[in-house]
């Protein structure tokens, strides 16, 4: 039973409602990501890690504190503070413990505070999953599964796009379309392809 929920949440967040191609979150790193696939992997690993922890923490905060005390209206300011301090904490922890991990993943952490995908997923959990009657553990489980799926979807698209960028840079693009415009059109075509996956569930 719970595995079905997990698989459904992951597939729907990763492929059907892809975070970049259909929710438009995290466009900046998507367009700015270098054509090195190592950078793409490091960036998406950092995003996945922070996204899972932050959605668990923000869901808990909302359900057990903000809703209980009748102050759900401060959710935005509370969430951005939670995410920002989480990013700082994780960065400090990695800096102190492992140099090689910092080299591959930690350098992308400071950029994540202003990455709208993280806050977007936390806010989306509240509006899409949370209801007054849902038990805390069940909601937390769905929220974390959605976060895992969203992070994986982010990584999938960023990685695929870094390979496409490599091809694009080598091909003969008209001067007016070079850079961002052609990237956006390519993203549009990728998005069209992902529309076809809507019938899976």
């Amino acid at each position: 039973m719970s595995f079905t929920i997990f698989a459904t949440a992951i597939i729907s967040a990763m492929l059907i409602n892809n975070v970049i191609l259909s929710q438009f979150l995290g466009i900046c790193p998507f367009l700015g990501v270098s054509k090195k696939s190592s950078a793409a992997i490091g960036m998406s690993a950092a995003v996945l890690f922070v996204m899972v922890i932050s959605s668990a923490v923000t869901y808990t905060l909302y359900d057990l504190v903000l809703y209980q005390y009748g102050i759900p209206y401060i959710s935005t300011i509370a969430f951005i503070l939670v995410i920002a301090s989480l990013v700082q904490f994780v960065e400090m922890f990695i800096k102190k413990t492992s140099k090689s991990l910092y080299k591959s993943l930690g350098i992308y952490l400071p950029l994540i505070t202003t990455n709208c995908a993280i806050l977007g997923v936390s806010e989306g959990n509240i509006t899409n999953i949370w209801t007054e009657t849902m038990p805390y553990w069940e909601g937390l489980f769905i929220a974390v599964s959605t976060a895992v799926g969203t992070g994986l979807g982010f990584g999938l698209i960023i990685f695929a796009f870094s390979s496409i960028r490599e091809k694009l840079d080598a091909s003969n693009v008209p001067a007016a379309w070079k850079g961002v415009p052609i990237s956006l059109v390519v993203a549009g075509i990728m998005s069209l392809a992902f529309l076809g996956l809507a019938g899976i569930i």
């Binding site: 700015g32 301090s85 950029l111 990455n115």
Partner: protein
């Protein structure tokens, strides 16, 4: 009225605390250049990845 102030105040203190702590821990020497390069992949310094 008191609860939201306490919640936000705590969160702000936590954030400022972790921020200050994180600033104190130095970045490993060999990663200096890497952090600058990484900044170019996000929108803070977005222009540098395309305009070189």
């Amino acid at each position: 009225m008191l609860v939201p102030i306490i919640v936000i105040g705590t969160l702000v203190l936590v954030y400022v605390g972790t921020y200050a702590l994180n600033k104190k821990v130095p970045i490993p020497e060999e990663c200096r250049d890497l952090t600058d390069a990484a900044t170019c992949t996000a929108c803070h310094n977005f222009t540098c990845s395309y305009k070189k």
